[in-house]
């Protein structure tokens, strides 16, 4: 009896070590099919149409139902998913994709090039990543049943990465659905090729996904968001639990097997718990104050620089992170550490200077006379309010006058589109997998980065295909960012999740939840 317990423990330690090393999956013996995995999350998705919205909850849910041509590996680089592979013409203007054969949709139909073409066209008209790519595309068409050609106006560096991003992604729908719903109208029929299919959606109660028995997995091992996928749990039941204290309690009582977006103060308690374990979700967000560069006070670059010079980021991050160093990271790179290809290590950037004298001098040079600066934030995302409040105090200590406007999220996302209504707002920047995907550097997104040089570098980054030259451009862009200060980069904030001990095989290195390849120990 005792011996077997010791053995089991030793085995678990070994298995955990193997997982941590990322080298092997635990022995197949341990993996069991069956059970209902109950996941508590923050709220209700606005849609289950991946093309339609950038909402992260939609991203998480739809990635279980749908797949794109490409996906991201553990280093956040594109790897084929529904595509077998691709070739590029000599002039770099034609991408030819070979599709995997025998992949079935949830309705039993085989996925072919017609479905891919219709889906990509729709995605190219609605998704922010699709639109960026399709600005360079002249034509996408089916060559034969399993071959698709993508023709470009100019050389492009972003074809594969755009097809691989998990957010607002190029999910492949059956042709009938992709053509039935106009791009601007959200699709309300949910047929994909993913390992789980939608079974039932009862708003505010649950979303039930059940295993898709005809799922055709890739042969590779699981790798980041891609590779082989196995649906071990019979069913994933996503339960929206808006009150965070309730979410934590329900993991403790076992009413939920997994909970996302927990309050960081609960970390120590869950860590001590014998039934559940905390999981740190990286990179989550870097905190950001976005300036209105179209109208008003903050069009003054010196004022933006003064803000950047004044703030002391570490105490802000520490407070937002519930006083725990596990949940924040001090870093000036615009791409987080996890995105190894684009993480920069530049020195001498004016980030986190904590230089009050410099800030005061810049305020004077800006000709600032204590005019109130309208800084919008919301309590619906507690971390936004927290860092905005701490920022207000630090800025007022050097002579700013901050009018902190605490509104609800719906008001904030409406007002931020109108340049007359604010000077700055809070939000978070999630993982952007390519230098062209940083929305705050574009001219179209609220805040409106209108700096000619930065915009031309972004355009060049979209065309330049040589990785080394792209990195050089990206480093130049980063230096310009700290000089022009379109937004303020604070530190990286991590999220917290909790899993019951019977939840096995969860890949903790992924930023977003993925429950294929996860099983419930009996």
């Amino acid at each position: 009896m005792t011996g077997s317990v010791v053995f089991r423990k030793a085995f678990l330690v070994l298995a955990a070590a193997a997982l941590a090393a990322g080298t092997a999956v635990p022995p197949a013996l341990a993996q069991v099919k069956g059970g209902v995995l109950r996941v508590g999350n923050l709220g209700e998705p606005p849609a289950l149409d991946a093309h339609w919205t950038t909402a992260s909850i939609t991203e998480t849910l739809t990635n279980h139902i749908y797949e794109g041509l490409y996906s991201l590996d553990k280093d956040k680089k594109p790897i084929p998913m529904l595509a077998e592979g691709h070739t590029v013409s000599k002039d770099g203007l034609v991408y030819t994709f070979k599709l995997r054969q025998g992949v079935k949709f949830h309705n039993g139909k085989e996925m072919t090039s017609d479905d891919v073409v219709a889906s990509l066209v729709r995605w190219g008209k609605q998704s922010i990543y699709g639109k960026a790519l399709f600005a360079q595309v002249t034509d996408v068409k089916a060559v034969d049943k399993y071959t698709v050609d993508l023709r470009l106006k100019e050389k492009s560096a972003i074809v594969l990465i755009s097809l691989a991003v998990p957010n607002n992604f190029g999910a492949i729908y059956p042709k009938e659905i992709a053509e039935k719903f106009e791009p601007a109208v959200k699709a309300t029929e949910y047929i994909g090729t993913g390992p789980y299919k939608l079974a039932e959606w009862k708003p505010d109660q649950y979303i039930r996904m059940v295993r898709f028995d005809d799922y055709k997995s890739r042969n590779e091992k699981p790798n980041g968001y891609g590779g082989g996928k196995t649906a071990y749990a019979d069913e994933i039941r996503w339960v929206p639990v808006p009150e965070v204290a309730t979410r934590v309690a329900q993991v403790e009582t076992g009413e939920l097997d997994f909970a996302d977006d927990l309050n960081l103060d609960a970390y120590d308690r869950i860590k001590k718990s014998t039934a559940a374990r905390p999981i740190v979700a990286k990179p989550y967000y870097w905190l950001v104050a976005v300036f209105n560069k179209k109208e008003g006070l903050m069009t003054n670059q010196k004022l933006r620089q003064a803000w950047q010079a004044a703030i002391d980021i570490e105490p802000i991050m520490k407070t937002v992170a519930g006083g725990k160093s596990e949940f924040y990271r001090m870093d000036s790179s615009l791409a987080p550490v996890e995105i190894t290809a684009w993480h920069t290590k530049l020195s001498g950037l004016p980030w986190n200077e904590r230089n009050k004298d410099k800030a005061k001098r810049l305020l004077q040079e800006a000709g600032y006379k204590k005019e109130p600066i309208r800084f919008m934030t919301t309590q619906e995302y507690k971390w936004m309010y927290d860092f905005a409040l701490l920022t207000k105090q630090q800025l007022e200590d050097v002579g700013f006058n901050i009018d902190l406007q605490v509104v609800d999220w719906a008001t904030l996302v409406k007002r931020r589109n109108n340049p007359k209504e604010y000077d700055a707002f809070t939000t978070g920047i999630g993982a952007a997998y390519d230098p062209t995907h940083h929305v705050y550097l574009t001219a179209a997104w609220p805040g409106w980065n209108n700096d000619e040089t930065m915009l031309s570098i972004s355009a060049e980054l979209a065309r330049e295909t040589d990785p080394k030259k792209r990195m050089a451009l990206w480093e130049r862009q980063t230096r310009l960012f700290y000089e022009k200060v379109p937004v303020i980069r604070y530190g990286d904030l991590f999220g917290m999740r909790a899993a019951r001990n019977n939840v096995k095989g969860f890949d903790e290195s992924n930023e977003r939840l993925r429950f294929y390849n996860v099983w419930l120990e009996k």
Partner: protein, 262 residues
């Protein structure tokens, strides 16, 4: 009497807040986050390192302001509407249907709509709560008036040729004071609590302004890690509510002639 004494303490605290608080209640001190009660911080600190004792003392200003003003506004509005409805048979049905409409309106929606349209602010909270609670007072006053209207002494006054207005204010209103005070003390407590609930929903007075509701709401996030954050302002609130109800009961006993006889 006990009620009045406790209330007096709160009023004094509100007026002397600057003198008797030990820290600046709005100063954030990230380094001393969630300190338990004792030592430098009598009642501990909240998640921004603000001193709870000072927050509660300063918070009594907003909370008492919200409570008292809402009570006064609802009483005033309620008496006017109630008297009108009670005296004029023609207006009665119409006025009461309007009150029905107001009662039927979800209070929380009205408050949120006002907050969202006009921005969070103490006066918006007061306005929203007054609109929400006024019909209850109006209905109470009306039913009291209906009960008194046909009593002998009112009929006598009428026979003497007194005008309605005079009758209303000289003979009827004094008899409404008892129920009004009881109801008022309830509304006072409800208003302070409602302010806390609006804070919970993120639409109360701006969250960085010290008020009992805001401290309780922020303490909700750490209710298991740092119980003192929500407990101390919660206790203050309960105590204020208790004192008012005791006061209301006392006043009722004094003012209700029938109870005095016994």
């Amino acid at each position: 009497m006990t009620g009045a004494a406790i209330l007096l303490v709160f009023v004094l605290a509100a007026f002397l807040a600057d003198v008797i608080s030990t820290h600046n209640p709005t100063r954030l001190v990230p380094g001393s986050r969630l300190r338990p009660p004792g030592g430098e911080h009598l009642l501990g600190t909240d998640e921004f390192g603000r001193d709870i004792y000072s927050l509660v003392i300063h918070g009594s200003r907003v909370s008492l302001l919200v409570g008292v003003t809402t009570m006064l506004l609802t009483s005033l509005g309620g008496v006017l509407v109630g008297l009108l409805a009670g005296f004029s048979r023609r207006l009665d049905a119409m006025v009461m249907r309007v009150m029905d409409g107001m009662m039927a309106f979800p209070a929380i929606l009205l408050a949120i709509a006002l907050m969202a349209a006009r921005g969070p602010g103490v006066w918006n909270v007061i306005m929203a709560l007054s609109i929400v609670y006024m019909p209850r007072t109006a209905i109470l006053i009306r039913s009291t008036v209906l009960g008194l209207r046909d009593l002998d002494y009112v009929q006598a006054a009428r026979a003497l040729g007194r005008r309605d207005l005079v009758i209303a204010f000289r003979h009827i209103l004094p008899n409404c004071v008892g129920p009004l005070l009881v109801q008022g003390s309830f509304i006072f407590a409800y208003a302070i609590l409602a302010e806390a609930i609006l804070g919970f929903l993120g639409v109360g007075v701006p969250p960085y302004v010290p008020s009992w509701g805001n401290v309780i709401a922020s303490g909700k996030n750490v209710i298991r890690e740092a119980f003192w954050v929500s407990l101390c302002p919660g206790a203050a609130l309960t105590l204020a509510g208790l004192s008012l109800n005791l006061l209301g009961d006392g006043l009722r006993d004094v003012l209700d002639p029938r109870l005095r006889v016994q």
